[in-house]
Symmetry: C2
Subunit: 578 residues, 2 copies
Amino acid sequence: MDKILRIDVGAEGAPRATVVPVGEYAGLGGRALTSAIVSKEVPPLCHPLGAENKLVIAPGLLSGTASAMSGRISVGGKSPLTGGIKEANSGGQPSQVLARLGYSAIVLEGKPNSSDLYKIFINKDGVKISVDNSLKMLPNYDLIAKMKAEYGDKVSCISIGPVGEMKMASATVAFTDMEQRPTRHAGRGGLGAVMGSKNIKVIVLDDTGMPMRPPKDPEKFKDANKRFVDGLKNHPVTGQGLPAYGTNVLTNILNEVGGYPTYNFKQGRFDGASKISGETQAETEKTRGANPTHGCHRGCVIQCSGTYNDKDGHFLTKQPEYETVWAHGGNCGISDLDKIAMMDFLDDTYGIDTIEMGATIAVAMEAGLAKFGDADAAIQMIHEVGKGTHLGRILGSGAAVTGKAFGIERVPVVKGQAMPAYDPRAVQGIGVTYATSPMGADHTAGYAVTANVLKVGGDVNALKPEGQIELSRNLQIATAAIDSTGMCLFIAFAVLDQPDTFQALLDMLNAFYGLNLTGDGVTELGKKVLSMERDFNARAGFTPQHDRLPDYFKTERFAPHNVTFGVKDEDLDKVFNW
Amino acid sequence: MDKILRIDVGAEGAPRATVVPVGEYAGLGGRALTSAIVSKEVPPLCHPLGAENKLVIAPGLLSGTASAMSGRISVGGKSPLTGGIKEANSGGQPSQVLARLGYSAIVLEGKPNSSDLYKIFINKDGVKISVDNSLKMLPNYDLIAKMKAEYGDKVSCISIGPVGEMKMASATVAFTDMEQRPTRHAGRGGLGAVMGSKNIKVIVLDDTGMPMRPPKDPEKFKDANKRFVDGLKNHPVTGQGLPAYGTNVLTNILNEVGGYPTYNFKQGRFDGASKISGETQAETEKTRGANPTHGCHRGCVIQCSGTYNDKDGHFLTKQPEYETVWAHGGNCGISDLDKIAMMDFLDDTYGIDTIEMGATIAVAMEAGLAKFGDADAAIQMIHEVGKGTHLGRILGSGAAVTGKAFGIERVPVVKGQAMPAYDPRAVQGIGVTYATSPMGADHTAGYAVTANVLKVGGDVNALKPEGQIELSRNLQIATAAIDSTGMCLFIAFAVLDQPDTFQALLDMLNAFYGLNLTGDGVTELGKKVLSMERDFNARAGFTPQHDRLPDYFKTERFAPHNVTFGVKDEDLDKVFNW
């Protein structure tokens, strides 16, 4: 992990790969590294699809090691959706593989000279870039089948579907899982369109012959990792809830507290919730011979992932995540798990962010394009995006553009990005994160659902503004740091509640790198990352006025608690005062 | 003109009209009044189509008087296209009529409680608001025919076409001309969508029985008006060029200097220019029995307007303006005047901004939706907008959204609004105006083509950055003041070159109101208006970063002069330092 692979797609003749030392970016991983490179090298006012934007793909500091949970990967660039800096985070195999191959990051830069589409193959012997126009407009599943046939069943892939090629602002960058399925996605912010603008369809990674990355102090590392894993197993969320039901365990919980945005954020409870809950989903999976407890990458011990089979017992898609089930489910008034799973598959194979897509369908339903609850119409809308029809071009550009095109006022976005599965009125801490995160509305940027709803890492009344600023601030700082380690964010449940588990994480980092990192050091790293990101956004023209929820969240009361978003503007402006 | 008509469209039961004294807004007219009301009463972060936005329609200070050229009207609100404050300006009859009826402004406010569509009738006896759902989705020409049948051939109308009803961001507010045709439009910034969001289809005005507004000093006023008219007649632009050929006299001029944006701003000269020039247009009109020299409102002495007949000698549309001929002509590679005239008619009747529409078609052509030069495809695109098909929803949302939907980088917009008919690289002064005007890219906001190209009001080299900041600053100040008087902006040619004509204008204002306004007072008014507008935009989240041209104007060289936009960012930030 001491080198960066830079690929200039605009080089004369054909894209050219150059491997350079990590240099000034040494010591940074994941989000810290993507945001550092973007912040330093990308002009904030450039066009997101132009020559000056870069796509940065970076494993975390502990990726490629024996550490549990270290398989997350960060993708960064200027977002076509928000116009600001973006880090989108994914699971899957490529993080571990890229790290073992020794790369801190891959940077795609420049602008192609032709319409040729390229694939990139990276193994221990180096980098090979080749034209392959036969891949044009292939959905991710078909593409990966082709790569498997060509490169064998040991490789892992980073790819875009047709929606990325068409440069739509909801396009994802897909990452294959342990079964070589393109099920994990850096979804938010349309970074797939940036990859599409570089004419790179797929990066195939083969770490055959590359050893696991060795720690400086193997004994201490092993011991810390053991304590870390024990901590995860002992916490009820990471040891029981997530393994048994996956992230969709949240449907019943959010619905119960009245914070489940239903019918395009109209109300906080959904009649059909029990039909699409994690409990129902896991039961359905088991009955059909699928697997509800499964990891998305080597070294995962939480196992919140899974597989979902159709009625005949054939693989349909990976176990849809809570936010996906919500986006295509309750938010659209849909309570048919099979239809939702089909939408999850379509999003994955076309390469569309499930959250943006579901939020957009709900806005389209509010505009009268279909009735809430019409699952077949929703499925058809995703096909329109995947095929790039005119309607698809609208929907694939996200909820904000869809609202603009159809003249709709109730569009739940911040900085142009759709809100996820937690209403900011009934979970006010997450509202603070939506409003202020440099990423746009993003639950993962500071998951205040912890103290607001789950009562993990504290207890802050979800319906009131008091305490939410501090909560969101601390979580945004911690998240920015965790996103830099390559660790799955779900470790936060145990790390927030159990000081020993947090210490084990620090010990692991220290043993691996020979450092003396303390809790304060982690906080400093998180602040540094956020400051870089906010600085980029300021230079891109973002102001405190952009750190706001849409007006209607402050005036439209939300059932069942009859509540509006109560955090004052001047308090929102204090989130980053540290 | 001592009262304001406020219509609360969200009042219980049905929209309610209230007439209030002009109060704190006394002494303001036109743009000064619309911007003062919007700046004071509209929350800058509100949704442009929501309850809190207002549509303000205001005649100028001299409208409704015997003054020549005083028939312009301002429409203001928060723009659905730019998200900033907007004043769009139009000719036509309603300014004079509304002023004679004694209204300083009409303000539409609130949010409708139903989907009923309303018409408003105003005469000397008061205001009548009635539901008329038979008007739904009527194009402007059909609507006005219906209003004529209902209210007689003396009324004038302010209306929206179907595109305004569909709340698209390119929708205009239409104003009838002296022949009761809906040919004059407050086009820029999508204010027709704001009128549509208030469910007001048409405002019918009848000034029967209302006298001309009397000056305080009739003799002085009459004398000043005479000197003013003489000045206009004596200047070559207002006395000869504009009357003979209309605004389209500019095609040959801009093409000759290499500043005519062709093929979506790819080059500065168009092969087909002579086929669509003002000279050719006037000749065609004369041959077909139409009239190339005609005023758009009572009291016009420049007569730059006209009518355009089809091959069989039947009225097709008003004489298309230069910017319209450019937008649908050279910018799309189209050189067929009849097809361009048809597009002008379609834009007028559907209620679409011709500049935004033409710029959008060119972006769509760059995206491959049609070939440059394909006039039938361009016409079809306008029909798509008028009918609100999915493609129409994209195109009707303007060039910026169209670029985003189709993943196109070369989109010539500032603050989301399309650039008009002057390339900012070959006419760098207009580039400064595009970049910095609070209105978004707008030639009328500070028409530096004067000193850059026409050598009126000074001589500043169009291809170099030197002197452009001062030029644009002075013109933006003067324009903001002129737009407040109700005067047609074309008086500026004579006023800038002839101190006597400027003095005559001051004398006219002073004689009418009993004031002692000097040139400095006019400058102060202009600065005051711009400051209000910029303050609104700052509160809406606009920053210096928004006062920039798209990146490619700084890097892509423009033929024939092989020039890029050379004004530095830090100089752009000095435009409003006075």
